[in-house]
Every structure is written in structure tokens, then in C-alpha cells.
């Protein structure tokens, strides 16, 4: 069967000159379509490294990563950019909005890098508005990030991640900077997106967050140490 994403015995080494840091030391995971996975583990265990590889932001040192049925090793850098643009939506712990842009402009950014560079159409505008409403920021579309709370900024980031209708959502500690009430709202949104059929892979430290996922992967020292809620 074809998976949304599949990593096969991947390793990631960082050559720091004097030492080689092995951030990933042979990880194999299958992510079926519509999966909702929480990746857990202690700090430095390689969670972010794995997520970046899954997001096609980087290539593994060894092993293979297959996304959309294609091995990443056979894909050019430009095509990796296209994959990120079309198939993947990123949500970061620190939101990563462009500070000088308004909410609308931030949501628009992925549209500027679409294949063939089409200009933003009326249909696109409508979709941005709908996304704004969906994340509950319909009345703040012309605000700038510094005028918004952390939770609101993360909603903008979610809208931005969704604008190109990707199959996979990658979230690195999406609620890491938020209070528990806001955390619940954001998680509610992610659950809905998963219910729509999107594959969601999320890094988290919180058991309460992780248990909302369909399954949990526990990492330790660059390898998968187990599945299920820790300790369990």
C-alpha cells in the first residue's frame, strides 16, 4: 500500500568537524493516509530532525524517505520546494509569521510560490477569507503579527499551512508556547483537520496533547524507542 509518507532506516549525521553528531540513527516509520501521530521523547532525541526530514526541508544522510510515492533522493531541490508548497503544511512552535506582513499577506505567502506562479485570483481571496473565518480571525485580517496574541498568531500559521490544501500537516510543538485553554482550541482544530482526512504528524512534550493523536511514537537517542503513550 502507498503511504502518505514513509521513512526507511534513515540516519541523519551532523559533521561538526571534530565530532559527528548522529541525530538520527536508523529510523523506520510508515505514515498511512489520514494518520495522526504524536512524536514524543526527551530533548535532543531527534524529534525535530525527523520532522524536518519529513517536511522535505532536508535530506537524510542514509536511508530513504518516500513522499507522495517518490523517493526524496531522486528529487531535485526545486522539486522538493514544490513538494513543500503543494503537499505539506508547516506549523511551528514560534509561529514564524513574517512580521512586516498583515494576516492576509502572511496567509498568502505559499500562494506566491505555486507552480507557474499564477497571480492571486478572486477564488484565492475567497479561500483566504474562509480560512480566516475558520481559524476565528475573520475580523483581524489586516492586523500585523505584533498586534496579535500567541494563540491568534498560531491560528494565522494554521490558515497559512492550509492555504494550498496540503495532504500532510507537520507541527513541531504547536502548543509549546501557549496556555492550556488556547492549547485545547488549537488541538481541536488539528483534530478537525485530521477528521477531514489530512495526515498530521506532530511533535509534542505534553501527554495531554499526545493522547489526542491516534498513535504516539516515542524517540530516544535518535531511534524509535517505542509506540504508545509514555510510560505505557
Amino acid at each position: 500500500m502507498e503511504f502518505a509518507a514513509q521513512v526507511i532506516d534513515i540516519q541523519k549525521h551532523y559533521d561538526l568537524g571534530s565530532v559527528v553528531v548522529k541525530a538520527l540513527r536508523g529510523v523506520s516509520v510508515d505514515f498511512p493516509h489520514g494518520d495522526f501521530v504524536a512524536i514524543m521523547g526527551s530533548s535532543g532525541s531527534g524529534k525535530s530532525t525527523l520532522l524536518n526530514l519529513l517536511g522535505a526541508l532536508d535530506r537524510p544522510t542514509h536511508g530513504e524517505y518516500i513522499i507522495g510515492g517518490r523517493p526524496v533522493s531522486s528529487i531535485s531541490d526545486d522539486d522538493l520546494s514544490a513538494i513543500r508548497n503543494e503537499m505539506i503544511g508547516f506549523i511551528f512552535q514560534s509561529y514564524n509569521l513574517i512580521p512586516q506582513y498583515t494576516v492576509v499577506e502572511n496567509i498568502e505567502v505559499p500562494l506566491h510560490y505555486r507552480k507557474g506562479y499564477p497571480t492571486i485570483s478572486a477564488k484565492d481571496r475567497k479561500r483566504i477569507e474562509e480560512l480566516g473565518d475558520m481559524v476565528g480571525l475573520g475580523d483581524r485580517l489586516d492586523h500585523r503579527p505584533f498586534q496579535l496574541s500567541g494563540g491568534q498568531q498560531q491560528r494565522v500559521a494554521i490558515a497559512r499551512a492550509l492555504v494550498n490544501d496540503p495532504q500532510i500537516i507537520l507541527a513541531d510543538e504547536p502548543t509549546g508556547n501557549l496556555d492550556s485553554a488556547t492549547e485545547a482550541e488549537i488541538m481541536d482544530m488539528l483534530c478537525k483537520l485530521n477528521a477531514e482526512g489530512r495526515t498530521i504528524i506532530m511533535v509534542t512534550h505534553e501527554n495531554s496533547v499526545a493522547k489526542l493523536a491516534k498513535r504516539q511514537i516515542f524517540m530516544k537517542d535518535g531511534v524509535v524507542a517505542g509506540e504508545g503513550l509514555f510510560p505505557g
Partner: protein, 435 residues
């Protein structure tokens, strides 16, 4: 684009070099063209094959004391005229004139006119035309007739609505009958030496020989209590050379010949219109070198400044670059973005520079007065040059505008490519982690 607006002051300062460089390019070409056109106009008016020798009144201390009243003797002599006319084979025509100012009168109308003693050739050589009647003829000269031709302005003032031809005018204490009136002519530009700009419209022309017998060579001026006398035989000799390529060599022969009757060259000046062209070219070269260096240095400094600011921008916006890469931007997209921003920056500088360059005329007037007061102070050698300098107007060259714009865009590309590529080369993950 937005991030450019964010740092208005910084962007403005960065553009300064571009602005200066581009405006220098525009100004350089405008001044070059202005100088050339000015010189060509001059030469056309004065005649490219003409050489003009004029009397110059020396400073008063060299006056000779003769019997209580001082008589100032100076200027061109009739023997100068004979010498030049007869001994230099390349001269085809020599036209002497003598000028002085005197009161002219008709009934109650009274003016101070420039009286020009001249020959029949004067009409032609000064591009004058007759409105009515005739000009001075050789016959008038030989018979020393008491005839006069009025310039249009003189005729208007003295005769108003009457027809002057056939009537008479009183010059000094003698009467002359009017035989013709000229058509108004635009005043000529000033040339070097003693010749100030001529307003041909306030003249009265009489035969040279008539002037000599009826007015004499001595001119007594009884103004302001003391009375001064001046003695000069001729005011100007216009010499026509047979071919343009022999003008310079002929001018040198004239300079030598003039030394025979004059101990020093303090009482006459030689103007060679053709040499004005060369001086204009020299002036153009001086300006081009000065402004060209300013332009080159400014553009280089401006370009480096832009590169510097763009490198700083790339560092500041590293995280933004990471975000864009994560959201699907290819390396080329990043390159294009930063290169575009650089070009907008340098292009805006270029446009401001073009506008500034076009207002050279205003700036030039200021520079001119500065240069005049410092460099050309009284120097005789520089006087023709100074004169021309003070009369030329920079003339913007149309094609210099697109050229200047392309230069500014080109500078943007040259100095923007490195920062843009540095931005594109950033590793997305590293960039996202920045700060």
C-alpha cells in the same frame, strides 16, 4: 518591497551615492552638449573663417600727458590695417570700422547712439539687412559723403512714425542725410577681449572716411569737470581667411605682425571664433573628467553601499528566508526577491538622480559664479573661455535619461546579485532557527 519601506531613512542614505552618480552622468552630458552648442552658435555668428582684431582701451595710468590735458592714445592704427591687409596672403578681405558714442538728434528727439564708421562690407559681414533705402557704398567713402544709415532702433527713437530716409540727423554738431534703415537684428553674444555683446539696433552707420574727416581721430569727452581726450584710429578689423583650415596659422601670423606697430599687446585683442570651438571642447573635457570621476566614484560607493545594506537586510531577514523556503520558495525565488528589492532601491536612486541631473541648470549657475570668481579672476588668457563659460547653458541630452536609468538598474544588478545569492544559499533549517 514592504521591508524597504520599513527603513526609509536607511534606504534614503543608501541611495545617496546612486543619486549623486546618476545626476553627474546627466549633468556631464548636458554640460558637454551645452558648451558645444554655445560655441557653435558663437562661431556661426562670428564666422568660422573670420579673425577679429579689436582695440582695447588700456587702464588710465598709461595715458600720455600732453600740455595739461591728458590724451590717451591706443588701439589699432591704419598702418596695422594696411600691414595685415597687404602682407598676409591667406586674408581675402579686411574690414575696418571705428566706433564711438555720440549724441544724435532729430528735432526734439535726442539719443546717445553708437556711431559706426564702416565700409560697404559691414552689412554683409554682420548679417544685417536693409529695411529700406541702401547701405554705405564705396562711392560714399571715396567722396566722403555726409550720409548715414540708421539701425531700426535708432530710426524708431529719432523719427517715431516718420520715414527717416531723405531726412537728416544731427550727430554731434554736424548734419548727415539718411539714405537707409536696417532690419532689426538679434544682439550678438559677447566675445572675448574688449568686445561686449553688440546690440545692433542702436547704431548709426557712416562711411569710415567721412567719420575721419568730420570727426577726427581724437575724441574729447567733457564730462565730470575734467576733460579727457582719447585718440584711436580704428576700433576693429575683421579679417576673412580664405579657408577654414588656415585660420589658426593665419591667426598666428597676425599675432606676429601686430607686434610691429605695438610695443606690448595691451591695447588690442585678437579673437579667433574657430578657437572658441576648441576651447569649448577643452571645457567639455574638463567637465567630463571632473563629473565623470564624480559619477564613477559615486556609483561605486553607491553600489557598495547598496550591497552592504542588502547584506545586512539578508542577515536581518534570515528567518523570513527560512519561512519562505519552508513554504515552498525555491532558491531562485529568493534570489529574485532580493535582487528585485535591490533594483527598486537603486532604480529609485536613479530616478531621483535623473531629476536632480535635469535641474543642473540651477546648480550650474551656482557653480559658475564660484568658478568665475576663483579661477578666471582677471586672467586675460582665460577671458574668452570665461566669457563662454558664463554664457553657456547645460542642455540635457535626451538619451542620457534612459542611459542613466539603465546604469542605476545595472548597478543594482551588479551589487545586488551577491547578497541575493547569499540569501538563496542559506540552509532552510538553519535559517528557520536563526535568532
Amino acid at each position: 518591497m514592504k521591508s524597504l519601506m520599513l527603513h526609509k531613512l536607511r534606504a534614503g542614505l543608501t541611495m545617496l551615492g546612486m543619486v549623486l552618480g546618476v545626476s553627474s552622468v546627466i549633468a556631464m552630458l548636458a554640460i558637454g552638449r551645452g558648451a558645444k552648442e554655445q560655441a557653435q552658435k558663437q562661431v556661426l555668428k562670428l564666422g568660422a573663417t573670420n579673425i577679429i582684431v579689436r582695440s582695447v582701451k588700456p587702464p588710465p595710468e598709461s595715458a600720455v600727458n600732453s600740455g595739461g590735458a591728458s590724451v590717451l592714445r591706443y588701439g589699432l592704427l591704419r598702418k596695422d590695417f594696411d600691414l595685415l591687409n597687404k602682407t598676409i596672403p591667406t586674408i581675402t578681405q579686411a574690414i575696418p570700422i571705428r566706433e564711438l558714442t555720440k549724441a544724435a538728434r532729430h528735432r526734439q528727439h535726442d539719443i546717445t547712439a553708437r556711431i559706426v564708421g564702416c565700409t560697404a562690407d559691414y552689412l554683409d559681414i554682420n548679417h544685417l539687412n536693409m529695411a529700406q533705402g541702401r547701405f554705405i557704398t564705396d562711392d560714399d567713402r571715396q567722396q566722403k559723403k555726409n550720409v548715414a544709415v540708421l539701425a531700426s532702433g535708432t530710426a524708431d527713437e529719432l523719427f517715431q512714425y516718420e520715414n527717416p530716409v531723405g531726412q537728416s540727423v544731427r550727430i554731434g554738431d554736424k548734419f548727415y542725410s539718411i539714405v537707409g534703415v536696417t532690419i532689426p537684428r538679434q544682439a550678438s553674444a559677447a566675445i572675448g577681449g574688449s568686445m561686449s555683446g553688440q546690440d545692433y539696433n542702436q547704431d548709426i552707420y557712416v562711411p569710415l572716411e567721412t567719420m575721419r574727416v568730420r570727426m577726427g581721430d581724437l575724441n574729447i569727452d567733457r564730462t565730470a569737470g575734467s576733460f579727457s581726450s582719447e585718440y584711436w584710429e580704428l576700433s576693429q578689423i575683421t579679417l576673412r581667411v580664405d579657408a577654414q583650415d588656415r585660420v589658426v596659422e593665419t591667426a598666428n601670423v597676425i599675432r606676429e605682425s601686430m607686434k610691429r606697430n605695438h610695443k606690448d599687446d595691451g591695447d588690442y585683442a585678437i579673437t579667433v571664433p574657430l578657437e572658441l570651438l576648441k576651447q569649448a571642447e577643452q571645457m567639455g573635457i574638463i567637465f567630463n573628467v571632473v563629473l565623470g570621476s564624480i559619477a564613477a566614484i559615486s556609483l561605486l560607493v553607491g553600489g557598495i553601499g547598496i550591497m552592504n545594506i542588502m547584506l545586512a537586510t539578508v542577515t536581518e531577514r534570515t528567518r523570513e528566508i527560512g519561512i519562505r523556503r519552508a513554504l515552498g520558495a525555491k532558491r531562485r525565488d529568493i534570489t529574485v526577491q532580493f535582487l528585485t528589492e535591490t533594483i527598486v532601491l537603486s532604480g529609485t536612486g536613479g530616478i531621483i538622480g535623473i531629476l536632480l541631473g535635469l535641474s543642473t541648470g540651477i546648480a550650474f549657475a551656482g557653480i559658475r559664479s564660484l568658478v568665475e570668481s576663483f579661477i578666471f579672476e582677471g586672467g586675460k588668457a582665460g577671458s574668452d573661455f570665461a566669457q563662454m563659460f558664463s554664457e553657456m547653458r547645460p542642455e540635457p541630452v535626451p538619451w542620457s535619461l534612459p542611459l542613466a536609468f539603465f546604469i542605476s538598474v545595472g548597478i543594482g544588478i551588479i551589487f545586488g546579485i551577491y547578497p541575493a545569492q547569499a540569501a538563496a544559499k542559506l540552509d532552510p533549517i538553519e535559517a528557520l532557527r536563526h535568532e
